[in-house]
Symmetry: D2
Subunit: 306 residues, 4 copies
Amino acid sequence: MTKSFTNLKNLGFIGLGRMGNLMAKNLIKRGYLLNVWNRTIEKAKELSSLGASIAENPKAVAEKSDVIICMLANPLVTEDVILGKEKYIGISVSDGISKDKMVIDMSTNNPKVVKRMANTLKDKGCELIDAPVMGSINLAAEGGLTILASGREESVNFVKPILEAMGKKVWYIGEVGLASSLKLILNTHLWIMLGAFCETLTLAAKVGIDTKLMLEVLNSSPLKTFVSETKAKKVLERDWRPAATLEIALKDLNLAVDMAEEAYVPIPLANLIKDLFIAGIAKGLKDLDYSALICLYESLAKVKVS
Amino acid sequence: MTKSFTNLKNLGFIGLGRMGNLMAKNLIKRGYLLNVWNRTIEKAKELSSLGASIAENPKAVAEKSDVIICMLANPLVTEDVILGKEKYIGISVSDGISKDKMVIDMSTNNPKVVKRMANTLKDKGCELIDAPVMGSINLAAEGGLTILASGREESVNFVKPILEAMGKKVWYIGEVGLASSLKLILNTHLWIMLGAFCETLTLAAKVGIDTKLMLEVLNSSPLKTFVSETKAKKVLERDWRPAATLEIALKDLNLAVDMAEEAYVPIPLANLIKDLFIAGIAKGLKDLDYSALICLYESLAKVKVS
Amino acid sequence: MTKSFTNLKNLGFIGLGRMGNLMAKNLIKRGYLLNVWNRTIEKAKELSSLGASIAENPKAVAEKSDVIICMLANPLVTEDVILGKEKYIGISVSDGISKDKMVIDMSTNNPKVVKRMANTLKDKGCELIDAPVMGSINLAAEGGLTILASGREESVNFVKPILEAMGKKVWYIGEVGLASSLKLILNTHLWIMLGAFCETLTLAAKVGIDTKLMLEVLNSSPLKTFVSETKAKKVLERDWRPAATLEIALKDLNLAVDMAEEAYVPIPLANLIKDLFIAGIAKGLKDLDYSALICLYESLAKVKVS
Amino acid sequence: MTKSFTNLKNLGFIGLGRMGNLMAKNLIKRGYLLNVWNRTIEKAKELSSLGASIAENPKAVAEKSDVIICMLANPLVTEDVILGKEKYIGISVSDGISKDKMVIDMSTNNPKVVKRMANTLKDKGCELIDAPVMGSINLAAEGGLTILASGREESVNFVKPILEAMGKKVWYIGEVGLASSLKLILNTHLWIMLGAFCETLTLAAKVGIDTKLMLEVLNSSPLKTFVSETKAKKVLERDWRPAATLEIALKDLNLAVDMAEEAYVPIPLANLIKDLFIAGIAKGLKDLDYSALICLYESLAKVKVS
């Protein structure tokens, strides 16, 4: 099956949160025509002023578009919007989709849900590509995201220009679901780094080391990490405005924990981090930046790092 | 007290292992006169041919030198060579030292031992500086080490030219012992990164991701770490020739574990890594590079990462 | 609302596995009339020969009975059989139930599912009591189970004679769902004891202690536990015939892990046990008695305990 | 070598703390003549009034006695008193001992230290038996302790009547040091049970279970443990008067951690407990009963269990 839409410019975009909004804008800039939908319709207004058509519901988006992109908050919402399980019964993407259309799920999703959605859409003659992104708001704004894409290779290649409108680098990861798996795994790597950062910074503070100096030494050395570089200043200044909250970090980590359990892979470090996240949230850090995990470590060791 | 040796060029160097040997050579290159000693005297021969004098024992080194540098294998040996506790009673550095001489301990040492040595030497009118190094053999060869130094600030400044002969960057960390503490803490950061690397790589392999691809994605992203960059190739090629062995990693981590316990700081991630190291060694990985920890994870998850 | 059935002898019993079968027999012995149903109908035959009526499906059981007891394998099946979610749409208990009938869920269940079922049944004017059991096959056979019951207190008291036909002791735990929570928590206590048993036995073996002697000393002391008493012989004789398999233990533990996460309670010991279970299953111990976890510890420490 | 003292009634007893005092009294009751010594001499006065001779120092005890019993606070003190390492150089047990005398170390000791002491005493023609005890003050008072004894079997049999004066049950464990190892292992079993108790009680409280009821259910069930039985009331009444403090528990657990590391046995549960103890002590629970660990769990989950 080789795709050949008469009008590949006709895209659907569902989910206009902070990331989705910026990604959709980049598609418009590249000349794509967008049919958009969002739960809270206000968020679609700005895109409308840039030329996007606002659709009534996910079904309408699917009817009007050749390729439908989703960028939603979590696996539950994503599955509901795409397959119509609870709130979107009868008005979901799958209700509006027809043979040979494609769905690109760019949310951070549960690989099991991705595969389930792919199977259901297959019955309608449609393909699903999962294409989660790495990178923050800033990178999303400038089209600099890294995109992990999986699904049928030919199909991923087919939509590559679309993905490249949103990201500077597109990796092909393999069969559908694997890109989502890899996203969760790379995030897990990040969460353990966060733990390493908090644990060692707390130890340094308690034995009497100047933590500002420690972070300067660390970040001047090959041992620096993404966390030590991006969070050092925040932690020292106790600036907990969130890039991503601890609550989101826990939800994300949980997806990896579930995946590991199903694959029978012990991930003791990740599970320990999970309990630290939980204790952090119990302590009230839920809505703070994930670097606020340091506050939990501080309370465990009875010390302040700054 | 301000130091002013008549001949600051006259240095002692004790401990001519792989690192010590290269560091001593760099001192000779800068014109320092070296009195050297090593447990196995053969290792001193090469330096002798470069102009160093071989001393009979640590005591003799101390008698002949203004500043005595030690680069020894572990805290037990270091304390014995410097203070004379077991094998070196009567022939230790402290037996040969006299007022106003200085000792620089560049070994990775237990901060408690460092402070104990500093106190004992103080009674003889001598100062101890602890100045552990960051960096591998390659960096040691080219004088590119990073050196963490602690002790009286004036004294650290006084010996800075000596330290700069061995390292490209010298950080002043604070009162004696703190540089050793920081070294252990930065290494702990490294060991947890190693765990993050092994745990996520194993998970990726078991859920069906091409691990070579995963490492390429990781190392092209901001989430890369010292471990993911320096060990990816080794792990994929199962090349376990050691930069540092798992046994050495465990000994090193244990120093941090003891320090944390004395300071009453919980370090659950580090303690979990410690148990993984122990299980790895029980499995027979003792003399392999620490990246061989992946073999333990592989056996726990029943999967091969390459 | 006070219950007063014209014929309280008329019970439904759904789920005739190893435990359910024995529990149903005890009800028949006490003179209750049973309408039974099981997925594999063969298991109902024996009860039929004892006087029970075999119903066509869960709906039919509910139609014919005043009180419907369920003893099913897991939360998914239980919710489906009671509410009709997937396989039992239209033929579930809730499809046959009518005002003032009661459901007693005796399965080990997820408290969240219990509450959800209770709410749905409430809309039909029916009450749910969750009444999970503690005790093995042997205790079930002799009506010696301990039963934890929660729901409206008056209702629990009303069905107490039924429960007492199956168990020697019925505890009232509180509002609906709490008995299921407590069951999961007591099991978690058991799983950690299992870990304590395996970890210390392995350590003993490796340092050279006669493990048979160790278990004799332990079981003669106040430090003995349910695990050390019931599993010592099995482990020494490597008899892994399952009372409960490691796979079941993992599923059970997972219910507690999920409950803890939702309540934001860190349970690091339980999560560590979970990873040990996972590694044990990866190693091939899935269908063995949970005491076979010792085999994982043996492989980690490279020692045999017997 | 078969022992045959002319006067086996002549015993030394060193270490008259809470336990030692009661044990010594039981020896006197059985007619043994005691030469006693204690760091703070006041504690020896009462025994003196019962007929014991107070010796000047450990050396004098050893000179006057055929069998010397030690019951000291920790490995460091024990080794010093027996071998004379620091404070007791020249006046230690080994300074007063002579051929064919025996030492029984009843302290909870590090097996490595036990073996080192045994080797040193062997050079003087003397044997060491390690015979740590299980049981509390109450059991010590009534001679009801359980005693684990290791060393040469013939020698353990020879001193058995002495041990039986203090304990109701004497187990022979094997070669010297193994009794101390087993003591540490059984205690580790206890510490993990403590963790299981605190973790599950906290979870119960947070999900809304009446913890008093939970403990009643638990202690009426086969899942009860030494901890759940002896600490339930203390925890519910927040009575933290120590049977053994958390600080002592940590020291004790550390001996097991070190032993496991030397034997290359991973003990992840025990190491996690160790970090919980450390966090508990950082929180200020150091001098409270070890059951006060529940306060740490409470603070992690933000809930009160009573």
